[in-house]
């Protein structure tokens, strides 16, 4: 696979697999922090596919279309903010419940 030039399909598959791994983290791990890390993985997978599209769809002047890269910039910024706020929430949860195990958060259960 390394011998031929990577096509868009390769990048997309990698992005998809990364997204899948992120989802697997969210579904299969039971620690809140690690689930959160899985979220970040998913976001990055999206970034990768965006950049790949940006490179492969050239604009009129033969340059990559930078709209997608701007979007990636925004996504990184927002993800950073989200991590900050999310971790603050997790800390607050830990303070009140003394646990980060996701199965202990069941007060909204029927």
């Amino acid at each position: 696979m390394m011998s031929m030039a990577p096509t868009l399909a390769h990048y997309l598959v990698v992005s998809g697999l990364l997204f899948t791994i992120g989802m697997a983290v969210v579904l299969l791990r039971r620690n809140l922090i690690i689930i959160f890390m899985g979220l970040e993985l998913m976001l990055n997978a999206a970034n990768l596919s965006l950049v790949a599209f940006s490179r492969f769809n050239l604009s009129a002047a033969g340059l990559p279309s930078y709209d997608a890269q701007v979007l990636v910039f925004f996504i990184i910024t927002v993800a950073a903010a989200e991590v900050a706020v999310g971790l603050a929430i997790i800390v607050a949860i830990y303070r009140s419940l003394q646990t980060t195990h996701v199965e202990d958060l069941d007060t909204l259960k029927f």
Binding site: L18, I33, F73, V78, E103
Partner: protein, 154 residues
């Protein structure tokens, strides 16, 4: 990078998971560089690997998480998770294989690309408004974090 990602999934200790994640981010940045997106690659390393992961590690150390205590394995949840994951992979392969446009190779660029300048131009002209809003968003996030971290709400 994929191996690092798998590492995140299967590590026992949270710190190990965090380190695997850092490795994944760096590898991702390398991929960005191969795609001629230099600015984005550097930003990825600076922000994600630099700031976000540091924050994660701070929290892990603050909460003093040990390795995940073994509880009874929740079989239906695991099965559900595997199913979803498998389904997604299958779909992915199918969709990508079916579209012939995805199989073209990387087209050549017209010349050396000055992507920082280009990104900046696009950002400040076409996307100026979202840019300002992002600024407000960061302010709000900061205020929110400070508020959430108070011990008692006065």
């Amino acid at each position: 990078m994929l191996a690092a990602g798998l590492g995140v999934v299967f590590s026992r200790k949270p710190v190990n998971s965090a380190m695997c994640l850092v490795v994944a981010f760096v590898a991702l940045a390398a991929l960005f560089i191969t795609l001629d997106a230099f600015f984005i690659g550097i930003i990825q390393v600076l922000v994600y690997a630099g700031a976000v992961m540091v924050l994660f590690l701070f929290i892990i150390m603050l909460l003093d998480l040990k390795s995940e205590s073994t509880r009874k394995l929740n079989v239906p949840a695991c099965v559900g998770g595997v199913l979803v994951v498998g389904g997604f992979v299958g779909l992915l392969v199918k969709v990508v294989a079916s579209n012939p446009a995805f199989h073209a190779t990387k087209p050549a660029l017209s010349g050396p690309v000055d992507d920082v300048r280009e990104v900046g131009m696009t950002l400040f002209t076409d996307f100026n408004m979202p840019f300002q809003i992002i600024g407000v968003l960061l302010l709000v996030a900061t205020v929110g974090v400070v508020l959430l971290s108070k011990r008692q709400l006065e």
